[in-house]
C-alpha cells in the first residue's frame, strides 16, 4: 500500500487536477463515440442524460482508481444499507456492479475462469465468480479496483453474498460486517426490525473505527433523505414506461440503474434522475417511443443478461416488442415511501428488510401482477437465471400462475446473468420467436 502522503498527492494532482477535469472535458466535448442504436435498428436512440451527468457517473469509477489511502473504502453488497457508510465519508464500491460491468463489456466469462481455475465451481453465482476471478487475476475493465478497508454484506438479496464475502474477507484480510436480514414470509415483525436495527447500531462503531471519525447524525439524516429522494425519482423514471408508447425500455433501465445502486445517498443520483425524468417526460409529450413500432409490451423478471443486453433489445424491438418494465429495476424503487430521515435507523432497517428478494414467491407474483396491470403488459419473460437461485426458484410456479390464472403469455428463458456459456443463442432465438407469435395470436 502507498504511503498516505503519496496517496494524497496522487489523488490531488492525478485525480482532482488532471483525470477528473479531463473526464468531464471528454464527456462535454462529446469525444465519446455515439452508439449505433437509433440509426439502423428498430430502436430509437435511447434517452440519455446530459454529458455532465454521465461524466458524474463515470467519475465514480475514476475516483476509485485514486482513492486508496485517501478515503476509506468499503465493498458492499447491492442491497446493503450504505447510508451509514456514506455519512462517514466512505468510498463505496459494489462488486456486483463491477460484475455487471464486466458482463456488459463481455469480459466476465474470461475473468470468471480465473476463479474456476482456483476451484470455484461453475455452479456458483456468476457475479461472485467474476469478482473473485478479478481479485485473483487482477483483470478488470476499470484498470484498478480500490482495496477495501471494510466489507459490508447484507443477506437481504441472498445468502450467497455471505458465502462470497467470507471468501473476500479471507483473501483481503479485512473486517467483514454482516447485516443479517431474516427472510420475510409475511410483513416484518417488530422483532425482526429490531434485530436489523441493532445490527445497524453495531455497524456504527465498527465503521467509525475504520473511518477514524465519528458519525454525525445530522449527516446521516441528510444522506437518508437523499436516498429517499433518489429512490422516489427512480420510481418516477420507471413509471414513465406506463405511457404508450413507452419512452424507455427495461434494457435502458438496466443501464440507468447504476446511480440508484452505486450513488444512492449522494446528490449526483438525484441530479441524474431529475435530468433523465425531464427528458423522458419530453419524449412522452412528443409521443416518441423507445421502440419505433411498439406492438407488444413485455415485463422482464430477474437479472438482465448483461452480455446480450443490446442484442436482446434489438432482437425484440425488430419484432415490435418493447420490454417496458422489469422486476429487477423496480426492486430499487418500490420501497421509497418507507424511508424517513427523522427515524433513520429504524426506517433503514424496515426498508432494507422488505426488499423484493427478501420476500416469498407469492409476494413477487403480486408485484408482477400489479406491474402487468399498471404497465398494460402483453407478456412476461422470466429469465431463469442459472446461477441466481433466490431470484429463480419459484419462477416455474409463477409462470404457471400467469398463464393459467391471468391468461398472460409467459416464457421461462434459461440463461445466466453474467456467464455467456449458459446462453444458447439459437435456442433462445427460437423460443423468443415462438413467444412473440403467441402474443401475436392474442392481439
Amino acid at each position: 500500500m502507498m504511503q498516505p502522503n503519496r496517496s494524497r498527492l496522487r489523488y490531488l494532482l492525478g485525480y482532482r487536477c488532471f483525470a477528473k477535469p479531463a473526464l468531464y472535458v471528454r464527456f462535454l466535448a462529446g469525444f465519446r463515440k455515439p452508439g449505433k442504436t437509433g440509426q439502423n435498428t428498430a430502436l430509437n436512440a435511447p434517452v440519455g442524460v446530459s454529458a455532465w451527468k454521465k461524466a458524474g457517473l463515470a467519475n465514480h469509477y475514476l475516483e476509485g482508481r485514486y482513492v486508496e489511502g485517501v478515503r476509506k473504502v468499503a465493498w458492499v453488497t447491492s442491497g446493503a444499507p450504505i447510508e451509514i457508510l456514506r455519512a462517514l465519508g466512505f468510498y463505496v464500491f459494489y462488486p456486483e456492479n463491477h460484475g455487471a460491468l464486466c458482463g456488459a463489456r463481455k469480459v466476465a466469462t474470461e475473468i470468471m475462469q480465473a476463479a474456476e481455475q482456483q476451484g470455484y465451481s461453475p455452479a456458483l453465482c456468476s457475479y461472485a465468480r467474476t469478482d473473485l476471478g478479478s481479485l485473483l487475476s487482477g483483470k478488470t475493465p476499470l484498470q484498478k479496483i480500490p482495496r477495501p478497508d471494510l466489507l459490508l454484506a447484507c443477506t437481504n438479496i441472498c445468502q450467497t453474498v455471505l458465502s462470497w464475502y467470507r471468501c473476500l474477507a479471507e483473501y483481503l484480510n479485512v473486517p467483514l460486517y454482516l447485516i443479517d436480514t431474516p427472510f420475510l414470509f409475511r410483513d416484518a415483525t417488530p422483532d425482526q426490525i429490531d434485530y436489523v436495527k441493532r445490527q445497524l447500531e453495531g455497524l456504527i462503531p465498527v465503521a467509525e473505527q475504520v473511518a477514524g471519525r465519528s458519525l454525525k447524525w445530522s449527516r446521516l439524516r441528510q444522506v437518508v433523505s437523499w436516498s429517499k429522494e433518489a429512490t422516489q425519482l427512480w420510481l418516477e423514471v420507471l413509471e414513465t414506461a406506463k405511457a404508450k408508447p413507452s419512452p424507455l425500455t427495461a434494457f435502458d433501465g438496466f443501464i440507468h440503474m447504476a446511480p440508484i445502486v452505486e450513488q444512492r445517498g449522494e446528490t449526483h443520483a438525484i441530479r441524474y434522475y431529475r435530468d433523465l425524468l425531464k427528458r423522458l417526460q419530453n419524449r412522452i409529450q412528443r409521443r416518441e417511443g423507445a421502440v419505433k413500432e411498439e406492438r407488444f409490451r413485455v415485463l422482464w423478471d430477474n437479472l438482465p443478461v448483461w452480455y446480450r443486453l443490446r442484442h436482446l433489445a434489438e432482437f425484440l424491438a425488430e419484432r415490435g416488442v418493447n420490454v417496458v418494465a422489469s422486476t429487477y429495476t423496480y426492486a430499487w424503487a418500490e420501497l421509497a415511501p418507507m424511508m424517513d430521515s427523522n427515524r433513520p435507523l429504524e426506517t433503514i432497517a424496515r426498508t432494507y428488510l422488505h426488499v423484493f428478494l427478501n420476500r416469498p414467491a407469492r409476494s413477487k407474483l403480486k408485484v408482477m401482477e400489479k406491474m402487468i396491470h399498471d404497465f398494460q403488459i402483453d407478456g412476461v419473460i422470466l429469465h431463469s437465471d442459472r446461477s441466481c437461485k433466490p431470484y429463480s426458484l419459484g419462477q416455474m410456479d409463477q409462470r404457471d400462475h400467469l398463464v393459467s390464472r391471468l391468461n398472460v403469455p409467459a416464457l421461462l428463458l434459461e440463461a445466466d446473468h453474467n456467464d455467456s456459456r449458459a446462453f444458447a443463442e439459437q435456442q433462445i432465438r427460437t423460443r423468443l420467436e415462438a413467444f412473440v407469435e403467441m402474443m401475436e395470436q392474442r392481439k
Binding site: 482456483q118 476451484g119 470455484y120 465451481s121 455452479a123 456458483l124 453465482c125 461472485a128 443477506t155 441472498c158 445468502q159 450467497t160 455471505l162 458465502s163 462470497w164 467470507r166 471468501c167 474477507a169 479471507e170 483473501y171 467483514l176 454482516l178 443479517d180 431474516p182 427472510f183 414470509f185 415483525t189 422483532d191 425482526q192 434485530y195 441493532r198 445490527q199 453495531g202 416469498p360 414467491a361 407469492r362 407474483l365 431463469s384 442459472r386 446461477s387 437461485k389 433466490p390 429463480s392 426458484l393 419459484g394 419462477q395 416455474m396 410456479d397 400462475h401 434459461e414
Partner: protein, 373 residues
Amino acid sequence: MLDLPGRWDIVKNVRQKGKKVAAVFPIHYPRELLQAHGIHPVEIFGPPGWPTQTADRHFQSYTCAIVRRGFSFLHEKVLSHVDLVVVPHSCDALQGMASVLMDFTENGKPVLTFYLPRSRRKEDEAFLVNELRRFFQALTPISGRIPEEAELKKAIRLNQHVFGILEKLWEEHVLTGWSNLEFFRLLRAREYLPAEDFLRYADTAPSHFRRIRPKGRILLSGIVPEPMDLLHLLDELGLLVVADDLACSSRRVYRNSDLVSDAFPCLAQCLMAGPPDPTRGDPIKQRFFHLVKLAQKHRAGGILFFLPKFCEPELFDIPLLTKMLQDEGLATLVLESELESSLSQQMVTRLEAFAELVADRTEHLLKFKETPA
C-alpha cells in the same frame, strides 16, 4: 448388520400412539421445542435415488438434489403421514422450496419455517430467543397445548444427554475401529428415532458392530453421506472416519454446560454453540482451525468433502479451505453428488486413489507423532 427400524415404521408407530409427526428438512432446527410439544421430528435428507419428477414441475434442474428429491419424496410418500412440515432457512434453495410449499402447493399441512442467524453476536442470540418463541407459539395450534417450562427444560436436558452419548460413541469408534457404515447408520438413526429409542440402540448396538482394519484415518465433511454406499466403500478401502463435519451429524451437536437459565435463552445458547458451519456464516478460517484440530486430535491423514451439487455455502469454501488444509499436510478430496442411489465408477476410482494417499499420510503422521520432539 445393525437391525434398525425404517423411517416410516417409526412414523407409523408414533402415530399409532397418538403423537403428531413433523417432516423436517435440513439443517438446524429446535428439536427440543417439537419434543416438548409432543411432536416427533422425522428428518428428510433426500432420500438418494428418489425420482424427482414431482419437483421438476416446480424447480429448475440447477436446484440441489436435497431440495428436488426431498420435495418429491415429501409429496409422494410423506405428506399424508405427517401433521406439519418444518423447513429451516438453511440456504437460498431451501428457503425457495419453503416459499413454493407455502405459496403454490396445496398440501393441506402447515409449513413452519425457522431462521437461525448467520452470525453469533449478542444481537443474533437475542433474535434467536425471539425466533424460538415464535416457533414455539406456532406449534401450539398443531399440538393443541402449551407445554410447561419444565417440559422444555426436560427436552433440552434429554438432548444434551444425547450429545454426551454421541461424543462417547465417537471416542469408542475411533478406539475400536467400527465399520463406518454401521456406525453412521446408528448416528443417523437420530434423524428419525425418538430420543429414548436412540439411546437404547446406542447402548446395545455397538457390541455387534463389525470392525475394520484401518489403513488410514480421515475426516468426513459435507451435508449428508448419501448414498450410504460411500461408507461401505470406505470400509472396504480401510479408511476409518475418525470425526465428521457433516451437517446431518456433528455440526448439530450443540453442547451447552449452562442449563440454569430460562428455557428459551438456554436453548438459544445451545444452538449458538454448535461447531463452525458454512451455512451459519462462520469465517472460513474458523472452520479450518476446527478441522485441523479434529485431524490432529485423531491423527487423520485426509479430509473427504462429500457435497451435494449446487450447494453454494459448501462450494464457496472449498478452494480456500482445501488449500489451507493441504498446506497443513492433509490430503483432501472433493466429491459432488446428486444423491444418486449408488456411487459412480468415477467416484470409486477417485476414492481408491485418495485411500492410497491417505494411508501414506496417516503412516507418516503416526510416525511423526511417535518421534520425540
